[in-house]
Symmetry: C2
Subunit: 473 residues, 2 copies
Amino acid sequence: MDDHHHTSSPQVESQTLPADPARRRFMQGTLASTAALGSLGAASLAQAQTELKRSTINHYHIPATDQTVHWGYFSKSLTPLVEVESGDFVTIETVTHHAYDDYERMIKGDPGVESIYYWDHTRKGVNRRGAGPVDASLFGRGAGEGLGVHICTGPVAVKGAEPGDILEVRILDVQPRPCANPAYKGKSFGSNAAAWWGFHYNDMLEEPKPREVITIYEVDATGERDWAKALYNFRWVPQTDPFGVVHKTIDYPGVPVDHSKVQENWGVLKHVRIPIRPHFGVIGVAPKEADIVDSIPPSYTGGNIDNWRIGKEATMYYPVAVAGALFSVGDPHASQGDSELCGTAIECSLTGTFQLILHKQAALKGTPLESLTYPLLETRTAFLVHGFSFPNYLADLGANAQSEIYQKSSIDLALRDAFRKMRHFLMTTQRLSEDEAVSLMSVGVDFGVTQVVDGNWGIHALIKKSLFVGGEG
Amino acid sequence: MDDHHHTSSPQVESQTLPADPARRRFMQGTLASTAALGSLGAASLAQAQTELKRSTINHYHIPATDQTVHWGYFSKSLTPLVEVESGDFVTIETVTHHAYDDYERMIKGDPGVESIYYWDHTRKGVNRRGAGPVDASLFGRGAGEGLGVHICTGPVAVKGAEPGDILEVRILDVQPRPCANPAYKGKSFGSNAAAWWGFHYNDMLEEPKPREVITIYEVDATGERDWAKALYNFRWVPQTDPFGVVHKTIDYPGVPVDHSKVQENWGVLKHVRIPIRPHFGVIGVAPKEADIVDSIPPSYTGGNIDNWRIGKEATMYYPVAVAGALFSVGDPHASQGDSELCGTAIECSLTGTFQLILHKQAALKGTPLESLTYPLLETRTAFLVHGFSFPNYLADLGANAQSEIYQKSSIDLALRDAFRKMRHFLMTTQRLSEDEAVSLMSVGVDFGVTQVVDGNWGIHALIKKSLFVGGEG
């Protein structure tokens, strides 16, 4: 515990799990952000429930290491790193699964990231990567087969959470992870892979077709610059991993890219500044429908929603599906456009500070959260619902859901789901009739393309809080 | 000509066609807005071509009357109301095709609107409504059969315009049309119809299913209030038009709604304020592929794009398809959400002031507009391309295109088209490589749902101008 983590009331006690003093420097100043708690606004859905009656609130710190991440999957069977109480704070480091696209800028010198990516001819720091078989008996790509790709930090258990409850997750702060290589002090880096799962891949103009192209972006880690810039790009060429498996395409996460084999093209996107929108592509709780679940398709428990608005000052509400909720975070992005068209964002390691608040089912009666069965996003200015091709694909598609979802991607279906969810949101939280909700949706709700690259494609519907004048009075 | 329409240089001469002094009051002050011309910014695509060498620029005024509108269709065979020269201004009144949903608030006392909607047992002010047969031999609904619904004012011919040229349309001002009924002085009104062509129609919760519901909104016409509010709604019941045809659903535009037969529910959406976004749902030039073209599906010539960003200070660029371009405007909206989910926006009569600038094909070589084959939108802060299920459905779907398009609506297809157009835009206007464009689209371009109710469904892609620092230097 140190002085940075004191507030007057309630008292915050600070714990780092597991202990890793080297990571503590990222935590400084996060508590200043927690002062923003009270400013979430009168329109905040769960306002009434946030008066916590505890005198001490804990603030946990979870560094990202080979011991604290699960790679490529959610699982209700994972042992929690920590069990928090409702109201506690957790600062969680997250590491991008694209860091080995540029080892010098995204791994080197960072003990946590090095431990995760460690891979020699005998051993990987994290062996299983994905929800596939550990013996790689399907495709021979590697343990987990890359059926699921995101490095997720967690899970965090929430004491007393049970199916039927709602977990509120307030994102209080998000910071880029500074590069640990002294050559690039003060900077962070991200990778954008235009990959085989991108919307563009079978629809190219120029030769060679098809091709995968990785673009490395630079992000300012000091917070002074609010834009990212591209440094260089290179075309993916077959890469042989330390176990001897050749990866002709980007088919397994964390494969070391040998830069002696690729051609770096510098000076790309020379006059373009990408506004940064730091956020977590993957953030959510464990589903109950299967034991090991591919991290790629989003679902009712959240996960890989890939909405760039899930950043600082946003709040997510999730239906709890398993005991303890089992909250995990990963897939950090420095920026992304609505659609994530080419398959990835600017994939860049980030550290977030979260407050987890449990709403017990019994206390939900009569509240706006009573019948929430989908992940709901509240930003400072808006509410958003997330529609998917299949709202709960694991249940909707049956035993082979995890492979079939990729054959059934459709934004037409996702729009249908987003429409139904926004109608439900307006009728339950704003107590509108169906006719009122439908008219309002047509004249005052904006539907956007969240992503078309995650199997279970997404459409979000956004309504500004400022429309509800009654809600402010 | 009056003093309101003078500027120092170039001189603006004012003409009203046809003469209708009663409408002149709407024109006052529009010239102040034209001073905004120079402020479209360094990033304006066509900046270099706007130094007009003429000493006199005309400002035409086109009131909306039964003599100046074509209802429900575009046509290359229409006689232009006026022929303007490149650089001229045109103030155009537009009237919503939903005005008869509330005669007292949207028609009564307004000679222009009354002339358009006139309908007794012997005669209609405007007989043909839609691209269908004038003898109503298909469905017996009425002349034109309502295959196309929008009241369009125009066309305006542009002198010297030929296929291959680009027409730039600058929207300098947009104002609501004040209610002419003294009982509602200072107000304007709009109608939102949740209709059978809406995305929600076959997916309702409450009985009776299905149903059509019209909501009447009030808009401030004085410009002091930037939001609309709902007044009341009513369920559509069969309406008998003055020719004796019964309309069980909203199947023909301009059918008088007998309010003694509907139940008005007042106080709906009581605590909701809809931010106004005045814009033109239909705005574009005549296509060449067919003679009489249904006004509903948008296409490469624009038309019913239904993007709420096509309002004041926006600029549209269209490929010219026929001699004279034949520019028309209609389907005025006080506000709309991205998707126009239930079938309509807040349909509310508006008056717009436009400057039309012709870019001859020969002068396009080497400019960003050289290979533009789709309608491009430039706002103060962004560029947008519009993807459709079929980019030129009249050509893509062949002889039966005008009926088949409604069977083939898909936002999955529209996203494909929007992706290709944004890639083209970035590669041509910003001179990016394909790989640069694809990466940028994934990390800095937002794709949204324009509309899912116009047959040829739309997805737009938006990129902010601020990303291009080079373009500003």
